[in-house]
Symmetry: C2
């Protein structure tokens, strides 16, 4: 029996509608400030998409577009100003910044109360301790895909492939918590793992976030497992107009024959990240009174 | 063949000697401030042990003994004063404080630059990101026991049993890093895990930190595995003078027949925690110039 396809667009739309509804209770409405340094077209597109998603969810947004020549000091000065600004609830600096910018220092400079990407170490630490202020966007999006598809991680064996700071590590740290929607036994695999298939074949829930096209084949998946593909790998495709297309880490056509649930790429995890970002912006606005 | 016994006392003494040697290069010498609230005899003993260990390692220490009636506000005021004090490198508040104290708030109040227990969320987040400022004492102690016994976690399957904020979670987050002395495939098991033995039997390195006496029996251990017992469970023992004794989570006598390496309780992980605490105090002193 073929897998149930998890529709990330539909679930993202659900969450965004919930945010829109809840945002009406906040006055003034939540206000996101996006900082875009340089003129990378992909980054500019991401920021425009966030701006549009904000508008649709009743969240105000302001874009601070800075030239590629912006210095670290200038960027830090803008962040300090936004940290002080009472009419700024959430700050995001679109990644990646130009190579002369020290991104770690930028992340540390953003007030942990306005850190809607959940990248600041204080927020990562709170998440690990089971007392999150914000949710890491992509991993929390994956958790919502599972829960809203009827897949409860509790008591399941989750295998996460990939240990990035943005996906793999927070994903594992969310799902191992003693909490509803989590409480899974979690294994983290990565480039240092010997015999990856030995681990993936044990997974009730397999989360692929390694960035290696079609790394997960049919033989590596337990029949009936939920397979979540976080990756967006750009590969050559002579049949496509642009000559390339996005594929995930999972050999989708083959794996969907054995999996119980599967996410497509695109249209699976991709649309979720922005939904959680909007949720975080709403949370940040609701925490206005507690900022220090 | 019986397991090699890992001698925590000897390895702790080695590390403390290294700290003593390195501390001579710091002027003025590192200065630890320990805060003890109330008159719990066990807590008082721990603080005295830390004081003595400091003295032996060339680290100055000051104990702030406060009555059990100390309020949250008074404790926060002392911490604020120690945060400002240039002659204070490391602050530890002996746990557990009296029940009317909100320990989470205390942890957040300690400057992340003086947080030698590595409990502050900012330091937990830096650890998870692979850029630690300090090391969580017990998990880093376990890592040193392994490395100094010739057990390199790289490429191994580590199974951690227990997900406490002090041991299980930071243990997993240390050993999965892409770094020398780590780079393991890590599984975290806990009370929500179904069929614990299924996981423990796969472990090349098994770290028991659940706080359940003799939970790990011989059948749950892969022959030749390194077995690290973090727990100190106080159990009744009519043959002991005091009527009780400490046992770990591992059935030591049985498991040492199959394991490749094993830590005794006491004398295994126990002595390591304080060694890493001294290391952290030295680190804190070396970071004086960077404090913000």
């Amino acid at each position: 029996m073929a897998a149930q396809i998890i529709d990330g667009k539909a679930i993202s739309a659900q969450i965004r509608a919930e945010v829109r509804e809840r945002a009406t209770a906040v006055s003034p409405p939540p206000h996101l400030h996006a900082v875009l340094v340089g003129d990378e077209p992909a980054s500019a597109l991401y920021v425009r998409n966030k701006e549009r998603a904000c508008a649709e969810s009743g969240i105000r947004s302001t874009i601070h577009a800075l030239p590629a020549s912006t210095t670290q000091k200038e960027l830090l000065a803008l962040i300090a100003e936004l940290n002080r600004d009472d009419d700024c609830d959430g700050i995001l600096v679109q990644s990646p910044p130009p190579s002369h910018i020290d991104e770690d220092q930028i992340i540390l400079a953003i007030s942990p109360w306005k850190d809607i990407d959940c990248f600041h170490p204080e927020n990562v630490g709170l998440l690990v301790a089971g007392k999150p202020r914000f949710q890491p966007c992509t991993p929390a999006g994956v958790q919502q895909l599972l829960l809203r598809s009827g897949v409860d991680p509790a008591g399941k064996h989750v295998v996460v492939v990939g240990r990035s700071n943005i996906v793999g590590k927070p994903m594992a740290n969310i799902l191992l918590q003693k909490k509803p929607g989590a409480n899974a036994t979690v294994t983290i695999c990565h480039t240092g793992t010997r015999d990856l298939g030995h681990f993936t074949r044990q997974a009730d829930i397999l989360i692929a976030a390694a960035g290696r096209p079609k790394m997960i084949n049919r033989e590596m998946v337990k029949p009936g497992a939920a397979v979540i593909d976080v990756a967006m790998n750009l590969v050559a495709d002579p049949t496509a107009k642009s000559g390339k297309r996005f594929v995930g880490d999972v050999d989708y056509e083959a794996v969907k024959q054995v999996a119980g649930w599967i996410t497509p790429v695109p249209g699976g995890v991709g649309p979720m990240t922005i939904a959680i970002l909007l949720q975080n912006t709403l949370t940040a606005a609701m925490l206005r009174g507690e900022r220090r």
